[in-house]
């Protein structure tokens, strides 16, 4: 079969594009090297729907940001993922810098951000009593919001799949060859013929681009480290607190998450390794120190985990492309090859608008008809933790498995975990379960529920427990029984 469109990468951008394309009569395929959606930059970021005052006016970034921010709430209702408009504050720590706060406000207004206001310290304290002594003023953006990055990506992907998009996981693109009409995408799982290729490969988008195009691109991953805190301190702040960028750096944010934790980060460090998501002692210290400027007294002993994500920062743009902006266009020397590259912050926010923008480029090329019976909505997995007692009772009476708690920290039940496995594009790894249900996301970090989740996955997938993985191809938990038997003991 010849696909109309092949999207490389099942991050938030790839999934948003897939969902938009599923409105049309197109055979669309998504190829992903990981075993699940949302395995790269989309899983490790701030989880913020930015208001849109950061990007330079006139850029694609600015346009997609403001559009994305405006659409996120409606999308969260259609596709049932966690979103909360909590408002954001850019804190200014030096009277001399208040002018720059004003510049930011003006920039935001040029971009079309509504409701921006400069607050003096008194007004700031009324809105956010926990801010540090040094905060003298702030830019308040009421449209700033928080969103679950996993929830958003999974919702987009599931909805795309329900509307006919195919997904191939564990499939790595080795090469792309230009054919008379379209492309031959060579993967480690076989070849794919396609009319259009959409390159949404995140930090690897340069490698994919360079397989096809003469004028080369280079992406340098920019690592950002984060600390996630226990829900006990999740309400320390109610708004997302940024720091006004200074000569010393872009600053560290402090924000509640949409699930009620507290998140601080990210650092910014250019690295070479495109999978280099290791955290560092230095980075974690930096996050703690700088966060304390915004909010003093965040208790260090309430950290439940730390993680690092990579921003896809373009360091060399192909000839003729704009610098410092998203690179979203049909490649100049490769008709039908569409780059969606350099989607660093605010990429998550942009996703709803970006999907549509790229779909327009693709439909301009292929001129497809709209599809009858596109399903616009999707219902997520019910959450026992967030349900009222009456709703819980109802859920358990429809399926008793909702009465069996597996993850005690986040109160996730067997019923929810089975849902996560059985849904379209269901979870096949424990991280997949975690991102769909929050099992293992709590303060014990899966200490109690891991053996049970592994057991449920193995039973549902009809494999031995030693075949169950955390996320990556070789991320096994248990040694196969025959290997245990063969091996003698070390002390013998």
């Amino acid at each position: 079969m010849i696909y109309d469109v092949t999207i490389i990468g099942a991050g938030v951008s790839g999934c948003a594009i897939a969902r938009e394309l599923s409105r049309y009569q197109l055979n669309t395929l998504v190829i992903e090297k990981a075993l699940d959606v949302c395995e790269g930059t989309s899983k490790a970021n701030s989880g913020i729907a930015h208001a849109g005052y950061d990007a330079k006016p006139g850029t694609l970034k600015a346009r997609l940001n403001v559009e994305g921010s405006r659409r996120m709430q409606r999308l969260s209702e259609e596709l049932d993922f966690p979103y909360r408009q909590n408002g954001s504050l850019v804190l200014c720590f030096d009277k001399k810098d208040v002018g720059r706060l004003n510049e930011l406000k003006e920039r935001g207004e040029q971009n079309g951000v509504r409701g921006l206001r400069i607050l003096d310290r008194q007004e700031l304290l009324e809105l956010e009593p926990a801010v540090g002594d040094q905060a003298v003023a702030a830019l308040y953006a009421p449209s700033g919001a928080i969103v679950c990055p996993f929830g958003l990506t999974i919702a987009l992907a599931e909805n795309a799949a329900v509307n006919g998009v195919e997904f191939c996981f564990g499939t790595r693109v080795l090469d792309i060859q230009k054919k008379n009409e379209g492309y031959l995408v060579k993967t480690d799982q076989g070849d794919v013929e396609t009319k259009v290729v959409v390159n949404a490969a995140g930090v690897y988008a340069d490698e994919i681009h360079n397989m096809v195009c003469e004028s080369k691109m280079e992406i340098t991953p920019r690592r950002g480290e984060y600390l996630l805190y226990d829900k006990r301190v999740g309400s320390l702040v109610s708004h997302t607190l940024f720091q006004l960028p200074t000569a010393l750096g872009k600053g560290i944010l402090v924000t509640p998450t949409v699930h009620g934790n507290l998140l601080t980060g990210p650092t910014a460090q250019d690295i070479e390794d495109k999978d280099g998501v290791a955290t560092s002692a230095q980075g974690m210290n930096q996050v703690q120190q700088m966060a304390s400027l915004s909010v003093p007294g965040i208790p260090g002993n309430q950290v439940i985990t730390s993680f690092a994500g990579l921003r896809a920062h373009i360091t060399t743009v192909p000839r003729g492309c704009a610098e410092g902006d998203f690179l979203i266009e049909q490649a100049k020397d490769a008709p039908g090859f569409v780059d969606v590259a350099g989607i660093e912050s605010p990429g998550l926010t942009c996703a709803p608008a970006l999907g549509e923008y790229v779909a327009e480029i693709v439909t301009d090329i292929l001129k497809p008809e709209k599809k009858e019976g596109f399903i616009n909505t999707r219902k997520g997995i019910p959450s026992m933790a967030l349900s009222s007692d009456e709703e819980r009772q109802d859920l358990i009476s429809t399926n008793p498995a909702y009465g069996n708690v597996i993850c005690r920290c986040e109160m996730v039940t067997e019923g929810e975990i089975l849902d996560a496995i059985r849904r379209p594009l269901g979870a096949v790894t424990t991280d997949g379960i975690k991102r769909r249900t929050r099992a293992g996301m709590g303060r014990c970090q899966s200490g109690f529920c891991n053996p049970r989740v592994v057991e449920l996955l193995a039973a549902e997938l009809s494999v031995d427990e030693s075949r169950i993985r955390k996320s990556g191809e070789a991320s096994w938990y248990l040694t196969p029984k025959e290997q245990v038997k063969e091996k003698g003991a070390a002390y013998e």
């Binding site: 955290t279 005690r408 303060r443 200490g447 003991a489 070390a490």
Partner: protein, 473 residues
């Protein structure tokens, strides 16, 4: 089910069971134990090693044996329990209200004159310790690994580094070794071990596993599965010393870095918390500031020995009974439970293992000095009881150990049954004994004390079950 009870006990581990029994003995008959796991016994069921019960039962038992005795006592009094049942909320008052759920009954409320909290504790996770590096599979808290090995009958890895020398870490070092894994080292950030001295001897020294004091893990390597760790020496402020890094190849990291009382429900009930114990504030009757709600065991503060948990829980059960029978009195003053001074366990530096022995007979771990006279008689000093002398005599001539492990089960409700050698066997026969244990399969049903293997490794000693298992339904 009657949704009104005199006493509801949350948690069916050693604390909950002891509280239930004590309340029963004080005349309370309408008791219900709520347990989230598939059986009573709590974490003891996976603590298959011995060393429990010296105070309570005046004999050395394994965890499942200790639990089984309490399960029997609960059964003898016909105290009911609900298994697979999660409590999701507790409200103080007259009556108190406990909200719980399970598969069969859905969500339900129980009114109770009094409630005893006995939920136990959890382990500190990797994230809570800010260990830098990747987040691959193969990093487990020691208790999770213990569950895999001792309950699920599965091996979570082959080459192991253990961070933290708490007792669970030491016990798991031996356990993983006996099951065929290679434990590279145990790293401890403090200049002393957090575990018992006897465990250093019988879990590490016996198997040649190095204990690296003043060391910690400063990097976890491996993007998918653990591929190794960097360990570093730390200075007196516990900060890693640059230049002291050493790479250790391994596929598994076990963390034994402390326990935290599990007080979600306690907080939910509005009880005041104590920052020092990380448990609720209680008065001299173990009642929290949420009236009618009592606390005991590791939910109140982390205990060293289960015997102490049982003792404290008995009192909580009695106080709860008194509260139910005699009604309220003034709450009184807060009394912090006596937290045993954490043993700062070190083996004397430069100890000559040939003449200075650590007794493994009980948790005290006496340092005993022995001198062999010309006539081959022994001068033994430093022991505080007769056991010490006997231990040294045996250790100097023919050292012996009790071996605990699990054997695979066919047709049972569980996958493996915990076992021990009925008596100590010669140290030299451990490997042969384990080989037979690993290869054996037994059939359910099984009762504590049933012989699983006769004359194991030609020692003349049999391997017996230390737990019960019914036929699978």
């Amino acid at each position: 089910m009657n949704k009104r009870k005199e006493l509801v006990i949350i948690g069916g581990g050693p604390a909950g069971m002891a509280a239930a029994i004590a309340a029963y003995e004080k005349g309370i008959r309408d008791i219900l134990i709520l347990e989230r796991d598939k059986e009573l016994g709590g974490i003891l069921n996976q603590c298959i090693h011995n060393g429990f019960g010296l105070h309570t039962f005046k004999e050395e038992l394994t965890g499942p044996e200790y639990a089984a005795r309490y399960v029997d006592m609960v059964a003898a009094r016909q105290i009911p329990s609900l298994l697979h049942t999660m409590v999701v909320g507790v409200q103080s008052g007259n009556p108190c209200v406990v909200t719980a759920m399970n598969k069969e009954m859905g969500l339900f409320r129980i009114e109770a004159a009094a409630v005893v909290l006995a939920m136990g504790c959890r382990e500190r996770s990797r994230g809570a310790m800010n260990i830098p590096g990747y987040r691959p599979s193969g990093i487990y808290s020691a208790g999770t690994a213990q569950r895999y090995v001792n309950i699920e009958g599965r091996m979570p890895g082959r080459e192991v580094v253990i961070l933290g020398s708490g007792d669970i870490g030491l016990i798991m070092a031996r356990r993983m070794t006996l099951q065929g894994a290679r434990v590279k080292l145990v790293a401890e950030i403090m200049p002393y071990s957090g575990g018992l001295r006897r465990n250093i001897v019988q879990c590490l020294d016996d198997y040649g596993i190095p204990l690296k004091l003043n060391h910690t893990v400063t990097q976890i390597h491996g993007k998918e599965r653990v591929e190794g760790v960097t360990i570093s020496r730390v200075d007196e402020n516990l900060k890693p010393i640059a230049g002291s890094e050493e790479f250790v190849r391994c596929d598994t990291v076990l963390l034994s870095c402390g326990l935290i009382p599990e007080n979600e429900l306690t907080l939910d009930a509005g009880a005041k918390m104590d920052d020092v114990t990380q448990g609720p504030v209680v008065n001299d009757r173990l009642e929290t500031t949420a009236r009618g709600i009592f606390a005991c065991g590791n939910v109140l503060h982390v205990h060293d020995l289960v015997d102490n948990v049982s003792g404290e829980a008995e009192k909580a059960g009695e106080f709860a009974a008194e509260y139910i029978l005699k009604g309220h009195s003034d709450w009184g003053a807060a009394v912090r439970p006596k937290i045993p001074q954490k043993t700062k366990c070190t083996l004397p530096e430069g100890r000559d293992a040939g003449s200075q022995l650590i007794c493994i007979g009980c948790p005290v771990g006496c340092l005993i000095t022995v001198k062999r006279n010309e006539d081959e008689s022994l001068d033994i000093t430093g022991n505080t009881c007769k056991k010490g002398e006997a231990y040294v005599r045996s250790e100097m001539t023919a050292p012996v150990r009790t071996i605990t492990s699990v054997i695979r089960v066919q047709g049972g409700e569980g996958k493996v049954i915990p076992v021990k050698t009925a008596q100590e066997i010669p140290k030299g026969r451990i490997a042969a004994c384990m080989k037979e244990i690993r290869q054996a399969t037994v059939k359910a049903p099984i009762r504590v004390g049933d012989v699983m293997i006769e004359n194991v490794a030609d020692t003349g000693i049999c391997v017996v079950a230390t737990g019960n298992m019914d036929i699978s339904k």
